[in-house]
Symmetry: C2
Subunit: 243 residues, 2 copies
């Protein structure tokens, strides 16, 4: 994998997000970056850390989570290639949650200093990154609605559609299915249910012919009905910045 390949998913996202000129792209490609492979579950940064680099997802998935008082884990977000899950560490110095690899992943670590320099020198890039953190926030808001208002079936359908929509946008969905190396326990942590109940939901969705979830692959069998059940409207993803 060449260095160009590594920044490509990132550049691709920034390009749709704002006007990025040749000079901007060059500056991004010239960022110092140490590439690292990580296994599923491996921690990237943790609660209380004061990271000195940000982590660009190159391949695979990254998740953000928090452990609550009961010892249970709440997953807060999933990140795909092109995302920088801990960009916030540039300005919020202490981590308020954990970041870890979902499946086997390839990550690029960019030290804070050159990233700060980039932001100072290239206002377009700064704006694109800021925008990115704002859409992150928008996704968090929708997750609040998800866990706060919808029942378990609806929540799962919603999550599945969110991932599908975002992966499609970066060309990583494979027709109506996509690879997502999660266990049912992990999905349960994401939507705030127990493993047992998650299993009931998965079976219900399967038996109704709505979706399949097997060996780390999610397949949408009836997207239209899923959208109904999920109460899904992708507006909050802000995928089309021209709007």
């Amino acid at each position: 994998m060449t260095k160009a390949d590594i920044t490509e998913p990132f550049l691709k996202r920034l390009r749709v997000s704002t006007e990025i000129d040749e000079e901007d792209e060059r500056a991004i490609r010239n960022l110092p970056m140490s590439v690292k492979r990580m296994a599923g579950g491996e921690p990237i940064v943790s609660l209380g850390d004061r990271p000195s680099a940000c982590c660009l997802v190159v391949d695979g998935f990254v998740l953000r989570s928090k452990i609550v008082g009961t010892g249970h884990r709440q997953i807060l977000a999933f990140h795909q290639p092109g995302d920088v899950p801990d960009l916030q560490s540039l300005f919020l110095h202490v981590m308020d949650h954990d970041v870890s690899a979902l499946g086997n992943s390839v990550l690029g670590f960019i030290p804070h200093a050159p990233l700060r320099e980039l932001i100072k020198r290239r206002p377009n890039v700064a704006q694109a990154l800021w925008r990115d953190t704002l859409t992150d926030a928008s996704v968090f808001r929708e997750w609040i609605c998800n866990v706060g208002q919808r029942d378990a079936t609806s929540r799962v359908a919603h999550l599945v559609l969110e991932l599908y929509t975002r992966l499609t946008a970066i060309g990583r969905a494979d027709g109506r299915s996509y690879s997502f190396p999660a266990t049912q326990a992990l999905l349960a942590d994401a939507v705030g249910t127990s493993v047992v109940h998650m299993n009931r939901v998965v079976q219900e969705l399967r038996s109704k012919g709505l979706l399949d979830f097997d060996r780390g692959r999610i397949t949408l069998l009836d997207e239209a009905r899923l959208r109904e059940i999920a109460d899904f409207d992708g507006l909050y993803l802000h995928l089309d910045p021209s709007l």
Copy 2:
């Protein structure tokens, strides 16, 4: 109320957040702003809008919310004096949720153009504002945990402590109590329970001598126990930027 009074809560926040010099402060004070009084419940911007100004909370409270498919409302955030709840509209052009006044409030509307200009000219201010939107996101994450993992009693205690901590930080708490003009129905929308159950919880907290909630005023009667019940740790508020 003079113009200086109006920007003061805002400046106060920015000062602790980053290095803001005299020049920065002057630029902020010179922002064009139209001040408006709003009654409780009045909409400020709504889902689908494309606002051309941002709204600074000068006095009172502002809330952000979303209506889900069932018709129920999920409240996503409460904002206090000094906050700019819809700063995101600078970069995400279509609103993905509603913003409205909680009680009677005073708001300052700042057109996008001069705000963009400010951000371009004054990188310190830009950074402070970016940081602000990042702590917003951090609060969203904690709300996800709240509705996803904690029981109703714990959720209410957590919300009450969050508000208390943030209001104390800007000097708007009155000892161990603070004004918060909410009904039980509104609290229910914030923590994702029914009104009936919210009432049960409020009575439980009252009868155990933990807190009181009456006529728009919340009083913490036993902060230590509340913190336990709430599983509250204020780290996520990022109130001390030196950390």
